[in-house]
């Protein structure tokens, strides 16, 4: 199973070491990690996507909550939060494939940010599903370089209290 954790931590040197170190020493698997400032300068949001058995995923949240600088840990389901990831990818696109590649990029709402004789570099963002689909679509052309930010996430505001997510 995969689980998204949205973790609010004190913006203090060493916090990331504590969080990352917890995953290493307890043998938890991180798929992605993204950290950045929030609306409050003293607080940083770290979003981690982890893979594990159901019991282990709950353990991760409990262990995170024990860290001194961790203020809040939310285990996020896709229904309850918006998740986004930014991808930069250089696609192999010789002249005869170039327009095809750009057309495909347009279909995903991706932007062309660089172009050479043989390649097109794209910038795209989306949720987990969109990013996977997009990368799969370009796989056939060849992806020579790629950088991903890892997932970031915010809970939906104004979710009614009695709202039941679809499992």
């Amino acid at each position: 199973m995969r689980q998204v954790y949205s973790i609010l931590v004190n913006n203090h040197a060493g916090v990331l070491s504590h969080v990352a170190g917890l995953f290493t020493r307890r043998g938890y698997n991180i798929e992605s990690i993204a950290a950045g400032p929030t609306e409050d300068a003293t607080i940083t949001r770290i979003v981690i996507v982890a893979i594990g058995e159901e019991n282990e995923l709950d353990q991760i949240a409990k262990q995170l909550r024990k860290l001194y600088d961790v203020r809040e840990v939310e285990q996020i389901s896709y229904n309850q939060a918006v998740t986004r990831e930014l991808v930069l990818a250089t696609i192999e696109a010789p002249i005869n494939k170039r327009s095809e590649v750009i057309q495909l990029a347009n279909a995903f709402g991706a932007q062309v940010i660089n172009m050479t004789d043989d390649t097109v570099t794209l910038e795209a963002s989306g949720n987990d599903h969109k990013v996977r689909t997009l990368l799969k679509a370009f796989e056939g052309y060849g992806i020579s370089q790629m950088a991903r930010t890892g997932m970031i996430s915010l809970p939906y505001d104004g979710m009614p209290e009695d709202w039941e997510p679809i499992a």
Partner: protein, 564 residues
């Protein structure tokens, strides 16, 4: 008033009631040591930083109070790591203050620089690299709070040399304005969980209590005794829970797991309700999890949410302080009727007692039995790690909590001597006996110098079999007697070594001298080392092989079973 960084930290430590320090000075901590001269709590100069950490550990386990451990930067601080890891695993509070190179030198590979903040992350509950004199007051308070509240643990403050001498305005006993959050509160008593547990107790036919370190740490021994006796439920104590329930009580079933009593393991296998009070289901207790308490409803009371459901699935989880939960349970409990079950475990106790053979050699269990006899269970008992530790856990019958000091989770050989010294500082009126192995003892025996210097009258009984005995036992049983590097045929003469340190040392080779030598040691006004040359091939029984279930326990050597 204006104080320097060292003075501010010492003021805060004093205000928090710190009464004891252990450590060794060095370059990067000298300004702090200079101020320590004026602190009104004693400092014990040890011979190794690991020894200092174990002394603070032993001190805390016996007194319930926190000591500070002071070292210099680099090697002084890295020598602490084992001591911190040991305290972390067994949830023991201590405060380490380590010198660090000056802030403008950090990261330059300066002389005696090490990333002690980074090194200590996985082995502390809280750690901090102090970069500003103005944060000392707050951070020291937070360190003390973190060490002593909730599930206790070790903390480390890395203290750069320049910050130690930087001056700042200091206002004592006033809450320092802080950007950090208020302490997280533990939740209200879980009444729903307690209700479920009471129902389960009423429904149960074969209930068992397992009491862990949480009993000792929360001061719940009396409540536990009241609860067990009123309900008529037998009590098992984990290695770190020993002393939490009287060892001589008829309801006491001893220790569970790998080297537990047969009757404790039988009870775990047969019970229909397991009430876990502050134990963390360590793998040495559970054996193979799939065959642990196979027929039981499992209730688990713990102050650490992360321990609940970590290894064993819990049906009735109760998050909270064990003592608070027991007080409520005692108010609401109606006595059960478990007569049939009582007959069953009483028969087990009679039919499968702990035992050992006589063959004219000094049996290690006999030495421990004799220590038990002359102290009547009223001493403080400290151990290293290995066979001797398991025998001590089996054969000492503790009368009260906080009289048993042993390295459980980390299994730190060499823990014994420094921990015993720390324990004696905490309870000078008590007889402190260290039951040690020759392998464990040799790892930190340099602290005999500390015992001699400060005249700390600890009584050391080395059960010397010239082997790493537990390794030897496993090699005999699981590696077809290939004794790879577990033998010390040229063991030093520990009696003479003790004398060299100015400590009374006696070598004992004859079983008839055992009792006399123990009495001599007990009466001697100072530290003593008794070096018992014991039977070299004695093994610890019963035993649950690593990875096996508690139902696969071997009661005695396979050869003996074959004969009977």
């Amino acid at each position: 008033m204006e104080l320097n960084g060292s003075q501010i930290m010492i003021e805060e430590l004093k205000a928090a009631g710190i009464e004891m320090a252990f450590g060794i000075p060095g370059g990067a901590i000298m300004p702090f040591y200079d101020e320590l001269l004026k602190a009104d709590f004693p400092h014990i100069l040890t011979r190794h930083e690991q020894g200092a950490a174990h002394m603070a550990d032993g001190y805390a386990r016996v007194s319930g109070k926190v000591a500070i451990v002071v070292t210099t930067s680099g090697p002084g601080a890295t020598n602490l790591i084992t001591g911190l890891a040991n305290a972390q695993m067994d949830s023991v509070p201590l405060i380490a203050v380590t010198g660090q190179v000056a802030t403008n030198m950090i990261g330059t590979d300066a002389f005696q620089e090490a990333d002690v903040y980074g090194c200590s992350i996985p082995v502390t509950k809280f750690n901090w690299l102090i970069k500003d004199v103005n944060e000392i007051q707050h951070v020291t308070r937070e360190a003390i709070r973190m060490a002593t509240t909730g599930r206790p643990g070790p903390v480390l403050l890395d203290f750069p040399k320049d910050i130690q001498i930087t001056k700042a305005e200091y206002t004592p006993r006033e809450s320092a304005g802080s950007p950090l959050p208020a302490p997280r509160q533990y939740p209200e008593l879980d009444m729903e969980g307690i209700d479920k547990l009471i129902e389960a107790i009423e429904r149960a036919e074969r209930p068992v209590i397992i009491g862990g370190a949480g009993i000792i740490k929360s001061g719940a021994s009396e409540e536990l005794a009241k609860f067990a006796k009123a309900a008529g439920i037998p009590v098992i104590n984990t290695l770190l829970g020993l002393g939490g329930f009287p060892g001589t009580d008829e309801l006491f079933l001893g220790m569970p797991g790998m080297h537990g009593t047969a009757y404790a393991n039988f009870a775990l296998c047969e019970c229909d309700l397991l009430i876990n009070l502050g134990a963390r289901f360590d793998d040495r207790v559970t054996g193979k999890v799939s065959s642990f308490c196979p027929n039981a409803t499992i209730a688990h009371v713990d102050i650490d949410d992360a321990e609940i459901d970590k290894r064993v699935h819990t049906h009735i989880p109760i998050l909270g302080n064990v003592r608070d939960v027991l007080i409520t349970l005692n108010e609401r409990l109606t006595p059960g009727d478990y007569d049939e079950w009582r007959q069953t475990w009483t028969d087990w106790k009679a039919n499968y007692p702990l035992q050992y053979d006589w063959d004219g050699s000094i049996k290690p269990q006999y030495v421990i039995d004799q220590i038990q006899e002359i102290t009547e269970g009223n001493g403080i008992y400290v151990t290293g790690v290995g066979q001797h530790q398991m025998w001590a856990a089996q054969f000492i019958r503790f009368n009260e909590p906080k009289t048993w000091v042993t390295s459980g989770g980390l299994g730190t050989m060499g823990f014994g001597l420094p921990a015993a010294i720390g324990a004696k500082f905490a309870r000078p009126e008590k007889d402190v006996w260290l039951i040690d192995g020759d392998g464990s003892f040799a790892m930190t025996l340099v602290e005999l110098a500390t015992a001699a210097t400060y005249n700390v009258p600890v009584k050391v009984a080395i059960l010397n079999n010239a082997y790493l005995g537990m390794v030897r036992q496993w090699q005999e049983l699981f590696f077809e007697k290939r004794y790879s590097h577990s033998h010390y045929p040229e063991n030093p003469d520990f009696g003479t070594i003790a004398e060299g340190y100015g400590v009374k040392g006696i070598n004992i080779t004859d079983v008839n001298e055992v009792r006399n030598s123990l009495e001599t040691a007990a009466e001697h006004d100072g530290p003593v080392v008794l070096n018992f040359l014991v039977n070299k091939e004695e093994n610890v029984w019963p035993m649950v092989p690593a990875g096996a279930g508690n139902d696969e326990m071997q009661l005695a050597p396979p050869s003996r079973e074959a004969k009977s």
